[in-house]
């Protein structure tokens, strides 16, 4: 095969979205080339640790049997932490909905599926430019080399340098993105199961809010893997940068993660565990605001994080299943377009329609107002303090225990917040969560 020979489709980025597209298109008999900047597919991935299985099964029905699944999430926990006090709610799930794993492993598996279906994956190459001539995408350029294809799928991820060059998106706005930093703590699987009260292959997903972020918007997460625990923090960049400028956030974010690891409420869960890995990644905070003006052009489709397809509900963040689903929709749209005369702008319009009809878009719209909550310091400073103080009145009474409402009103007064304001703010937020 001549290297200058044309491919049917070039996928830029071997992440979940790119791999899903490449797999489905290669399986349908197209000549697919995937270009990845990192060493090996998935090597640039980083996340907390949980993926929703059903959208993935729609692409790979063999997922449950074949994919590198660490633990099926059987427990969801939520904690509000302030000082040495903490309030925790736990929910025990009734079926297998989501699983924990290392994203690098999962994406590696997806890439192998694509390769086995006939896609060609070339790693450690950087795509510098999507080549456009007279409004039509012709291929991609890397250094001095141009490779041609009938269509390009942009799965470049959250940092959309290619789309910026094309003028489809603006530069990233700090208010629309967040920084995730995590540590992987290695621990014997038996100890994980004992300490988190889990059965074999059962996992736990834990969302933490309060002063683990020093009262800044964002939160902490804990996920149990097979023989390790992932812990970390997600901080929206806009408010964190402002807090740093104002001198409120003095430490490096990694020391916040360290303080979280050493927190007295949590630290015994990973006693004797070793930190075997740490890392950081930029993630999407306001998906809908990051969506390109158009998800398609003549010969181009945008999928995954590059399209802003990450849903933040306030208590969960879903990006991998939405990425995979968008990759699947792109593959479907392309196959239809090829059957109808080619990937022209007109024929690829169906991709955007498919996205708008899918759960991705509905979820993004549905949870878009969460941004108002995330940008309001009240929910990360005063509210958790009032809640913890109220709980302390209920549970730390030496003689007389107040009624629930009394503990709340007293707590609000002592924290110098009007209880009406709390009720008003809560009333507003309940509709948004």
């Amino acid at each position: 095969m001549n290297v200058t020979s044309k491919f049917d489709i070039i996928v830029v980025g071997a992440g979940p979205a790119g791999c899903a597209s490449a797999y489905l298109l290669a399986k349908a008999g197209f000549k697919v080339l995937v270009l990845e900047r990192g060493r090996g597919a998935g090597s640039k991935e980083l996340w907390g640790g949980k993926a929703y299985a059903q959208p993935l099964r729609e692409v790979w029905p063999e997922l449950d049997k074949e994919a590198p699944i660490h633990r099926w999430v059987s427990k969801e926990r939520f904690s509000l932490v302030w000082g040495e006090r903490a309030l925790t709610i736990e929910y025990k799930l009734g079926r297998k909905v989501a699983f924990t794993t290392y994203l690098t492993e999962l994406v590696n598996w997806m890439a192998r599926k694509a390769e086995n279906a006939g896609a060609i994956i070339v790693d450690e190459v950087r795509v510098d430019e999507i080549v456009v001539k007279e409004g039509r995408v012709l291929g991609v350029k890397s250094g001095g080399d141009t490779v041609y294809a009938d269509a390009v799928i942009d799965a470049e991820g959250v940092n959309r340098l290619l789309l910026e060059k094309l003028g489809l998106v603006e530069k990233l706005n700090p208010d629309h993105i967040a920084l995730g930093v995590k540590e992987v703590l290695s621990l014997n699987p038996n100890l994980i199961e004992e300490r988190f009260m889990l059965g074999k292959d059962e996992g736990l997903a834990w969302f933490v809010t309060g002063d683990v972020t020093l009262g800044l918007p964002g939160g902490g997460f804990i996920y149990t893997m097979r023989d390790s625990i992932s812990i970390g923090l997600v901080l929206p960049i806009g408010p964190a940068a402002k807090a740093a400028e104002a001198g409120l956030l003095k430490e490096h974010v990694s020391s916040l993660v360290e303080a979280f690891r050493l927190h007295p409420y949590f630290r015994n869960l990973w006693r004797e565990a070793d930190v075997i890995e740490y890392g950081g990644r930029m993630t999407i905070e306001a998906g809908l605001k990051l969506m390109p003006r158009k998800l398609y052009m003549n010969g181009l489709l945008v999928v995954g994080d590059a399209a802003g397809f990450l849903v933040n509900t306030g208590y969960t963040i879903r990006g991998v299943d939405t990425a995979v689903t968008s990759g699947k929709l792109a593959a479907e749209a392309l196959i239809e377009a090829f059957n109808n005369g080619g990937p022209t702008e007109e024929n690829l319009k169906s991709y955007e329609e498919k996205v708008k009809k899918s759960y991705i878009y509905r979820e993004l719209k549905n949870h878009s107002s969460i941004g108002d909550v995330m940008s309001d310091p009240f929910f990360f400073q005063k509210l958790p303090q009032v809640a913890i103080r109220a709980a302390s009145k209920l549970f730390e009474a030496d003689y007389e225990e107040p009624k629930l409402i009394r503990s709340f009103l007293d707590a609000a007064r002592e924290e110098d917040v009007s209880s009406l304001k709390i009720i008003y703010k809560l009333g507003r937020v309940v509709g948004k969560l």
Binding site: M1, L35, R39, V122, E124, S142, G143, V147
Partner: protein, 280 residues
Amino acid sequence: MRIAVGIKWVPNTQAVRFDPETGTLIRKGIPSIVNPHDLPAIEMALRLRDAVGGEVIAFTMAPPPAVKGLELALGMGVDRAILITDRVFAGADTLATSYVLANAISKVEREYGKVDLVVFGQETIDSSTAHIPGQVASWLDWPYVYYVKDIQVLGDGRIRVVRELEDYIEEYEIELPAVLGIAVRALKPRPVSLYNKLRAKLNKDTIVVWGNSELKLDPRCVGLKGSPTIVAKTIDMPEVPRKKEVYKPRDPRDAARWIVSKIVEDEKLRELLVKKLWGG
């Protein structure tokens, strides 16, 4: 011209951290890279090929993940690559390694034709012995020149080799085949190109894997068994806390005076210097 270029897959020593408790290196999880000093050797081989034609074959003895290093060489434009890998080759010192590599060169000649030149980087960043090129030359009984900066092909089966030392330049005319050690930073290596990576990926024969079932070497002469080298003692060098001072005189002689007076005045620094220079 058929040129073989030897490369080594090494831990990126710049990323290696110290364990503050035990004082040893933490190698776990450190990404490996192609020994940076091998890149000028690859570049030299490619320039020779581009000038006079022929092919460049990259080879390495390493565990299977080193295939990523060979992919880098192919991405730079090397024509084919050989991964020499076998459990019996593990734990080798430079003698056992060079024995395997020299035999691999002989096999290259049997498989693909006469090898005119074998080039290596000057040394590796993880062990810095600089033994391998000379030892391979000894096994093959070929001439060996190191610190090579430039090569000219003379056309009558001979090459002119320029060797740059600290204060003089040497030129040799040697007969091929030969082994050369290319000087550190002799040439700026070219970047990896998409076409080259793609060509390597689309052609299934570009990377071949040879184990001992292919090389058929006496197991007593390879790997740990074939390695007479023992590490007698290792001494950790104490970390010297650095002090930063900036002095910018107009006259460089003032700077020299200033440095000498600093050393003479500082008792600790004086002792350390004496220790380093005369060992005690």
